[in-house]
């Protein structure tokens, strides 16, 4: 017995993949999008939901989510991460392989997929390790891992430091047209560094991480991409110089792309003032000039992707002297709100922002999603673009509450989220009629 159609009417519909931005209706039939637009046919039998004042966006694809599953489930499980994702309009989470054990074997990719199907409310796509145990030494079985469902290869929050290993990984990956994703931070140059190198680090007596620790890896890798012809992506860039390096690589026609984290678009190094460990990120928050260069890079298309870099840490791991505290911030739940806040604050075009969390990651990872085209799965978010709210870390869905943007004012909030046309999150029931 099939379900009745559901029609979401009087909504603003935004789908950059169809160059669509209009007031109209979205019709869901059998978990798929049956029709979308201003003048579509809706049967009398359809269940109708009036979405006046709200906007429908494609469900977001968050291309970098760390969970603690397997191995550190006290920080976050696939299930709890998926609840946070749903509350943020994220219907696809791309999860990182640097778990315990690392996802470096086809059986473990399969484990993630099965756990996700059994417990998570959003779609989960695993990345697999480039090297065994993410140690940067022995290449994993890219072919078998891809067949098992790995969407790309990365060593998570560690750079592949050995240039020869990286060359071989890029070269071998190009056999499969697989994407290699780098955490661009030179561990030797980072050394004991824990924050952006500059005046503030000097004043706080903390060891700095120079911008060159990032650009040295990016510059090296771009040479290796030239040598191998592989597809290469950088998880997160943090500096204006990195934006420039990627811009030049793209101008030379290389298959180089990059992402940035929502936190880096909103915060800068000054957020670590008073040794605030919630703002201890990897890569580090850098100067305000860097932040503005990242916003510009996103606006002009140099930066392809925005990720949350969602990295849940328990209170003990953050309640430490700054140098000893864990890196990372939660963010999958606030990813879209941060982007909408940038839209309001910096005038960034909504279509550009949505592409960075929908169309672009779908294309890079060959994921079926990120659009509201008829025939696509009915994965979408119902959003109030204007609603102001203040981030209260304790109110977040994630199991861990380490939000770098805690206390920040955001504008734009997810009201409801749907996967296969089914509600997986609803902030208030009165949106239904």
């Amino acid at each position: 017995m099939s379900e009745p159609d559901r029609a979401f009417i009087n909504a603003r519909l935004i789908d950059p993949a169809q160059e669509l931005d209009t007031i109209g209706s979205l019709l869901v039939r059998d978990g798929k999008i049956a029709a979308i637009g201003t003048d579509i046919e809706i049967l009398d039998t359809a269940e109708t939901l009036d979405c006046t004042g709200l906007t429908i966006l494609p469900g977001l694809i968050d291309m970098q989510v760390f969970t603690g599953e397997p191995g550190e489930e006290h920080r976050e499980t696939l299930a709890t991460a998926s609840h946070a994702a749903a509350a943020g309009g994220v219907t696809h989470m791309v999860v990182m392989p640097n778990t315990t054990p690392a996802i470096d074997d086809a059986a473990l990719v399969d484990f993630i997929s099965r756990r996700a199907r059994g417990t998570a409310t959003v779609r989960v796509h695993p990345m697999a390790a480039i090297t065994k145990n993410c140690e940067g030494q022995i290449m994993t079985e890219f072919g078998l891992l891809r067949e098992a469902g790995a969407v790309a290869f990365t060593d998570g929050d560690r750079a592949v430091m050995n240039a020869l290993t990286m060359r071989r990984a890029l070269s071998y990956a190009s056999n499969f047209d697989a994407l290699i994703v780098q955490h661009a931070l030179d561990q030797d140059l980072q050394s004991a560094g824990v924050m952006h190198e500059g005046e503030l680090a000097t004043r706080l007596g903390l060891t700095g991480i120079p911008v060159a620790a990032e650009t040295a890896i990016i510059d090296r890798d771009i040479r290796l991409v030239e040598l191998t012809g592989a597809r290469y992506h950088i998880h997160q860039i943090s500096s204006g110089e990195s934006v420039e390096a990627v811009r030049q690589a793209k101008a030379r026609g290389l298959a180089v792309s990059c992402g940035v984290s929502a936190a880096h678009l909103m915060l800068n190094e000054n957020d670590v003032e008073n040794y605030r460990t919630f703002a201890k990120l990897n890569p580090p928050l850098r100067s305000e000039d860097d932040r503005l260069a990242l916003v510009d890079g996103l606006a002009d298309g140099t930066i392809d992707i925005v990720v949350s870099g969602h990295n849940p840490q328990d209170a003990e791991a953050k309640r430490q002297p700054f140098a000893q505290a864990a890196y990372g911030t939660v963010g999958v739940e606030t990813l879209l709100s941060v982007l909408l806040t940038l839209h309001h604050a910096h005038g960034l075009d909504i279509a550009t922002l949505v592409r960075a969390v929908a169309g672009h990651p779908a294309r890079l990872l060959d994921i079926d999603g990120g659009t509201l085209r008829p025939g696509a799965c009915a994965d979408f978010a119902l959003v109030d673009l204007e609603a102001p709210w203040i981030v209260d870390a304790d109110a977040l869905q994630s199991k861990s509450k380490n939000a770098a943007i805690e206390g920040r004012k955001l504008q734009g909030k997810v009201e409801a989220c749907f996967v296969n046309g089914h509600s997986i999150f609803d902030s208030k029931m009165e949106t239904k009629k």
Partner: protein
């Protein structure tokens, strides 16, 4: 002895650093310390300013001189002083830093003197306890009583701080002494030169209000005071500088290099010294030139002043409403 009458109220619960202190906060502390220098030279060195108070010295990093200086300061003020070196305590049994703080706090100390190897750790602990906290050195961040004792030493010898030119030489990057001194000397109107090889000068140090030099000849020119910093052995084995020999050749203070400074320039060192690495042994012992012994003496007086200033802000009534000090 009622020296607290001299002292106008210190505006903070804790002394976590020089940053945030005004010139008058600093001057008031130095004035109070001056009175204790005199007391410390008497036969009876005791007062009852801290009678009934409990002071715990919590040292996560080993220290001989700072810890004993704080211990003596507390005892001369009449406090009960307990020393805790954490290498031997529960921290090695898996207890977290904050657990240790909460445990100690439950013993109702009035004053907690803390040294820790991580920048910011003392401020973190201060948030979790209800007593007054005194930073005895946190990582490469601050060591406020060292800066105060250095200032007192200079003021007593030269009569002032404003207008002086002071060179701080050596491993600036890893030095909390350099940071606190720079902040204090700037606040009181002295000019500071930071001198050292590029590998030991932190990024953007000039933005902290100092001039940066990489040779002793340029850095010491016209200076009234040359303050040498301790160079840690582990930094000298090719990591940041190639060898002790080369370091001493370029930056070690001897009479020849001291000649670049003003005639009659004075020499200071926070200790412990590496004789023959950063300072010539005979120069260090020349009391005409070297203030190093004065610094140790001033240390006790300055710590007495700091302890008293913080204690003056402590509630004087017990929870029952009865006076705590009778």
């Amino acid at each position: 002895m009622k020296s607290s009458a001299l002292y106008s109220t210190f505006p903070f619960r804790d002394l976590l650093g020089i940053e945030g202190l005004s010139a008058s906060d600093i001057t008031n502390l130095l004035d109070l310390a001056d009175t204790y220098v005199d007391l410390n030279r008497q036969i009876d060195k005791k007062t009852d300013v801290l009678r009934g108070r409990t002071q715990i010295n919590l040292f996560f990093e080993s220290s001989t001189r700072t810890q004993s200086s704080f211990e003596l300061a507390g005892k001369r003020l009449g406090a009960d002083v307990m020393n805790m070196s954490v290498s031997s305590s529960a921290l090695n049994k898996g207890e977290t830093l904050l657990d240790t703080a909460v445990t100690l706090n439950a013993m109702n100390p009035d004053l907690l003197v803390i040294r820790h190897g991580d920048s910011g750790a003392v401020a973190l602990l201060a948030q979790k306890v209800s007593c007054a906290v005194l930073n005895a050195g946190d990582g490469a961040h601050e060591h406020p009583t060292q800066a105060l004792l250095d200032a007192l030493t200079i003021r007593r010898r030269l009569g002032k701080l404003g207008g002086l030119k002071i060179a701080i030489c050596g491993d600036i990057t890893h030095s909390r002494v350099a940071r606190s001194n720079l902040l204090l000397l700037n606040a009181l109107g002295a000019q500071v030169n930071l001198v050292g090889p590029r590998t030991l000068i932190p990024t953007d140090a000039e933005r902290l209000g100092a001039k940066i030099f990489h040779t002793m000849r340029e850095g010491l020119e016209g200076c009234d005071i040359v303050m040498m910093l301790r160079i840690q052995n582990e930094r000298m084995q090719g990591a940041l500088i190639p060898s002790v020999r080369e370091y001493y050749h370029l930056y070690g203070l001897n009479r020849e290099k001291l000649g670049f400074a003003k005639p009659n320039a004075l020499v200071m060192h926070p200790g412990p010294m590496n004789r023959g690495a950063e300072i010539d042994s005979e120069l260090a012992d020349d009391t005409e030139i070297s203030l190093i012994r004065d610094q140790v003496e001033m240390g006790v007086a300055v710590r007495m002043a700091a302890l008293e200033a913080l204690a003056a802000n402590l509630p004087n009534m017990m929870q029952s409403g009865a006076p705590a000090n009778v």
